[in-house]
């Protein structure tokens, strides 16, 4: 537990915050979008389960651009 006390939350909090924004936008987009590359539910799992990289992966390769 002392590990948590040592951490400088003023530095970590903004990162957690933008990470949450990224996650929320990926989820909103996944709900609104008609088709993705590959099954939609797989992307839902990837976005929710894989920290940080999941939403980025979704935006880079999961979205069908056209």
């Amino acid at each position: 537990m002392e590990l948590f006390a040592d951490i400088n939350w003023a530095l970590i909090a903004p990162i957690l915050f933008i990470q949450v924004i990224l996650l929320v936008i990926a989820v909103i987009d996944l709900i609104k979008i008609e088709k993705t590359n590959g099954p939609k539910w797989v992307w839902a799992i990837v976005i929710l389960m894989v920290n940080i990289i999941g939403p980025i992966l979704y935006f880079v390769i999961g979205r069908r651009n056209q």
Binding site: L3, D6, I7, N8, L11, I12, I15, I18, Q19, I21, L22, I25, A26, D29, I52, P55, I56, F59, V60, I61, R63, N65, Q66
Partner: protein, 259 residues
């Protein structure tokens, strides 16, 4: 000129609808702060993961602020380039495949403004994202280690962004060359990574190569002096950028007419 801005606006609108304006800057910021944080908290992370024998003492050399900042640039060099290539590979190829390009080009829109408006929009997005990312990295490095002078930071940003702009121009060139977005992305990525490896191995022979910009930025940060060949390398980078864009227009025009 008015038409060109209309096209640019169309690109920006599309980027906003794709959420590119949100996820690209966030990704670059996360990439930038990752290295300062993990380097700083490495002893704690190792402790909490455990596995070290009781009483084992790890003397880790404390890296300098400059070294940590250069590590962040290494992230852009790998993952940043990957993201640029994958997210921009469809700019021309995708529109041609879906027929949007034909829809636009039946109107009196020149090939020049079609390609350059796409290029400019992507350039602005990437430069803004890179700036925010490097700024975050600079700030976190400053708080956790030591502040690098802001002027030096701006210089390294300016020089490094030229390299990424060159990469972007090459991705757009590939996108104009190939019908399949995936083919364009792969060709661009392989070429960029192979040329950085070649540039890294033959540093003393290819002093003017654009791939040397990152080593030169690192050298500038550590020694506080401009390396000897930095200006010719910059000039060649800018020239190649213009050439790639012009070549993209030329190839796109010929392909368009051929189809």
């Amino acid at each position: 000129m008015k038409q060109w801005f209309t096209l640019l606006n169309k690109e920006f609108l599309e980027m906003a609808r794709n959420y590119k304006w949100i996820w690209m800057p966030i990704t670059f910021i996360l990439l930038g702060v990752m290295d300062p944080l993990t380097t700083y908290y490495l002893p704690e992370i190792l402790n909490s993961v455990g596995g070290l024998p009781e009483g084992a003492i790890f003397e880790m050399p404390e890296p300098s602020a400059q070294e940590v900042f250069i590590m962040s640039l290494g992230q852009y060099q790998m993952i940043g380039i990957l993201i640029i290539a994958l997210s921009m590979m469809a700019t021309v190829a995708g529109e041609r495949k879906s027929g949007v390009a034909q829809l636009i080009l039946v109107k009196p829109v020149s090939y020049f403004s079609y390609i350059t408006s796409k290029w400019a929009a992507a350039l602005i997005l990437i430069v803004v994202s890179l700036f925010l990312g490097m700024l975050a990295s600079w700030y976190y490095t400053g708080v956790l280690f030591e502040f690098i002078p802001f002027g030096t930071f701006m210089e390294s940003f300016g020089l490094y962004s030229l390299w990424l702009i060159l990469v972007l121009s090459f991705v757009i060139l590939c996108s104009a060359m190939f019908m399949q977005p995936v083919a364009a992305g792969m060709v661009a990525l392989v070429t960029v990574f192979i040329s950085t490896i070649i540039g890294g191995s033959f540093q003393h022979l290819l002093e003017w190569s654009p791939t040397q910009l990152l080593p030169y930025v690192s050298e500038r940060l550590i020694t506080e002096k401009w390396p000897e060949h930095v200006w010719p390398a910059t000039g060649i980078t800018l020239t190649m950028t213009v050439l790639f864009v012009l070549l993209a227009i030329y190839i796109f025009k010929r392909k368009e007419l051929a189809d």
